[in-house]
Amino acid sequence: MENKNERRREEILRISGVNPRKCMKCGKCSATCPSYDEMEYHPHEFVYMVESGELAPLLESKSIYKCLTCFACVERCPRGVEPAKLIEAVRLTVIREKGANHLKADDIPAKLDEEIPQQLLMSAFRKYSK
């Protein structure tokens, strides 16, 4: 169990490329967050909890879906911690762990459409497939 949590944590850090140790706990990310009131766990708490390995509450929290990915926190963090990327990585972990491939390679041809940029399909494929 311990190991799984640690693996998850590393996976989150790897996906996001975030080093939470850089955080100096100023709270500017949460101060700037437009979804603050909607969230149970706020950006600075994400950083702190990932750093300390408290992943379970985060993974179960609705907060991960409340982040608008507006990147205000990324823009304003004085230490370049990039909390939004971390939240995104937690969200992705949840999606991936749910097991299902939301988008299969076989599905793609059917979805091809002149209106949809190919890049979008590609990134969706990357994001929603194991």
Partner: protein, 665 residues
């Protein structure tokens, strides 16, 4: 051929315990050049030294090798011993057979063998030693202080107090610097002007001190004790010696719309101005960018009203050349630009101000005559938000802020908050902080007073966003302790902007060949042991040009720098380290490689005429080393492909002789 004496020390049993000192002395007897070899209990003792002195005289020794402890321990001792016996002190070499032999090897056989090899290496080296004489250079007994803020003022006063002439060069029309703009000072709440202006007057009245205001240093040549400095005295169009500082011109000048930099642009001044009432020198200056007379040739009001006849529209920049023995850099700081911090709406609302602007707003001589009024509408603000660390400790955004802590913000914000609550108890004051840092005498007590006695709301958390709405500033912030997001409708937001070294410092560092860190703060020669000296000899650091610091710290550093300068100027001659680089002009190619690696700017080039063996002459560019500046690192000797550059005391052939001796099994 040298006549070398070898002296092997037992150091009690420290060496003799694992090294057979008698065998070492015996083995080294047969080395080339050795004419005398002896061992003794304690070579560094008086008796031991006497033994060496006697041997030098008896055997007419030209060099000695002492096999003993580390040269870092007793090299100086034995050099003095040699000198006392009439031998050049640089004819002494130490073989380190204690720290690097007897203390680390347990086995007598291998310890003895190694000690013999180390002795042979030292003998091989001393065989190639030549007597060295430290170079001497005279000292110009005058100091230059660049920057006329509190750091420069204090340094100049202290140096002048010791009886040496000092010149202060200040780019502004007056000395005083940032401190002159402050209202009160923490933690005692003295009025800044009350403690600064008497010092400024002292400077003005001190016969030893000359002030070059409205001036800058444009060229520095030379080296410690002998700097040749060119100072550009910008034209101020007012004859300094005639102007009485009556200020009539500054009242009559018709050009009224000039932003007043002393009040940070919060009000206006005239095109001819005296920055503030206590300015030193108290003379007017015409701002050529705004003066109608200078721009169009029509006006001349100031000349008409000036009864002293001090106005001179034809004035030109003057260049003054002066010699100095020492240079003190006291160029100070500036708050960084807030332009890039959109989230705090500094450029959108007049009611978002920096702390320095806040100082002016609360200063009796400021734009509001000391009343705390909102810049936008002149109303009294009821809710004030102070934001800490704006641009400080900011690693991610190098183009926006600074990675370091600006050090002074915690304290001055506490001061601002406290004074505001003191004068206007009806005001709500919030301070958003990341950490409160108060190391300093009576500092934490001061901060706690602000919280406990004055009821300032200190909130752990950062402000994320300030948005002007109507006549309010909507402040959105974190309260990390309460775990909530705060929304405050503020009337005034004060940003504790990070401070950075003055922009002029970089060019100055290049001229002085003084090094800077990546933030453009001057580097000290040693961060702990030589904090007020730059690595470049004769250049000293005072105040915030070296790093963020508050007034007490600045003043103490200024005094320290002054004492270093005084120590230097007291000498009639400077004696250098003779182990300096030397260029063989016959072999020098003039390629400048050495010049480029020299950290001290000790190498210069000149064209010289050489007589060639075939009787023709050839002009070549060759390097020469200034022994007073060179510190003897040897970087140039390796950069030089022809081997023209060599280092006295550590010559190529000496090091190679050591290598050979060590490898000779």
């Amino acid at each position: 051929m040298q006549r070398i004496g070898v002296f092997v020390c037992h150091c009690g049993t420290n060496i003799a315990g694992t090294v057979d000192v008698v065998a070492v002395a015996e083995a080294l007897k047969n080395e080339p050049g050795v004419v005398h070899s002896a061992e003794y209990q304690y070579m560094c003792s008086q008796a031991g030294q006497d033994l060496i002195k006697a041997a030098i005289k008896e055997h007419n020794l030209s060099g000695i090798v002492v096999c003993s402890c580390s040269p870092r321990m007793h090299e100086a001792t034995f050099r003095k011993t040699a000198a006392a016996a009439g031998l050049n002190p640089y004819m002494v070499e130490i073989a380190n057979i204690r720290e690097q032999c007897s203390w680390i090897h347990k086995d007598m056989a291998s310890g003895t063998e190694k000690a013999i090899i180390l002795g042979k290496a030292a003998i091989a080296k001393v065989n190639l030693n030549t007597p060295l004489t430290p170079g001497e250079s005279p000292v110009t007994k005058r100091a230059l202080v660049i920057g006329g803020g509190i750091a420069g003022i204090q340094t100049a006063l202290d140096i002048a107090d010791a009886g040496f002439p000092v010149d202060i060069v200040e780019t502004k029309p007056t000395i005083g610097g940032k401190m002159a703009q402050l209202d009160k000072t923490f933690p005692t709440l003295d009025c800044a002007a009350c403690i600064l202006t008497p010092k400024m007057v002292d400077v003005a009245q001190n016969e030893k001190i000359r002030i070059f205001s409205y001036s800058e240093v444009v060229d520095v040549r030379g080296f410690v004790g002998n700097f040749d400095v060119t100072i550009k005295k910008r034209a101020r169009y007012v004859k300094e010696d005639i102007c009485t500082g009556c200020g009539l011109c500054t009242e009559k000048c018709p050009q009224k719309k000039v932003p007043n930099e002393f009040n940070l642009g919060m009000d206006n001044r005239r095109a001819i101005y005296i920055p503030f009432a206590q300015a030193v020198p108290k003379v007017a200056t015409i701002d050529a960018d705004y003066c109608t007379m200078l721009k169009t040739g029509k006006c001349g009001v100031c000349a008409k009203v000036c009864t002293a006849g001090a106005i001179d529209y034809e004035a030109k920049d003057e260049f003054i050349e002066e010699k100095y023995g020492a240079v003190v850099v006291a160029t100070g700081f500036n708050p960084i630009s807030m332009d890039k911090f959109d989230e705090f709406a500094y450029n959108q609302s007049k009611d978002v101000i920096t702390s320095l602007e806040f100082e002016r707003l609360t200063n009796a001589a400021g734009p509001t005559a000391g009343k705390l009024l909102r810049p936008s509408d002149g109303e009294h603000p009821h809710t004030i938000v102070f934001v800490q660390c704006v641009g400080s400790r900011c690693e991610a955004c190098a183009e926006k802020g600074k990675e370091y802590c600006s050090k002074i913000c915690c304290m001055y914000t506490a001061k601002h908050a406290m004074l505001t609550r003191d004068k206007y108890p009806d005001t709500d004051v919030y301070v958003f902080y990341i950490d409160v840092r108060t190391p300093g005498k009576a500092f934490d007590e001061f901060y706690r007073r602000a919280v406990e006695e004055y009821g300032v709301h200190y909130i752990k958390g950062m402000v994320g966003k300030v948005s002007p709405e109507g006549n309010k500033l909507k402040v959105q912030a974190s309260d990390l302790i309460a775990g909530k997001q705060l929304h405050i409708d503020a009337d005034l937001v004060v940003l504790a902007a990070a401070i950075e070294p003055d922009k002029s410092a970089r060019g100055l560092a290049t001229m002085l060949t003084a090094s800077m860190d990546t933030n453009d703060f001057f580097t000290e020669a040693h961060p702990k042991l030589r904090p007020v000296e730059s690595p470049t000899a004769g250049v000293f650091l005072s105040g915030t040009c070296q790093g963020p610091k508050d007034i007490p710290e600045t003043v103490s550093q200024a005094g320290a720098a002054a004492s270093k300068v005084i120590g230097l100027l007291c000498k009639d001659k400077l004696t250098g380290n003779p182990c300096v680089a030397q260029s063989d002009e016959m072999m020098c190619n003039g390629c400048s490689s050495c010049e480029r690696v020299c950290p001290y700017g000790a190498i210069t080039y000149s064209d010289k005429e050489f007589r060639m063996p075939d009787r023709t002459t050839k002009i070549r560019r060759v390097a020469s080393v200034n022994p007073a500046v060179c510190q003897g690192c040897g970087a140039c000797t390796v950069a030089c492909p022809s081997g023209a550059m060599d280092l006295n005391g550590f010559k190529n052939n000496q090091i190679m002789a050591e290598v050979d001796a060590i490898c000779k099994m």
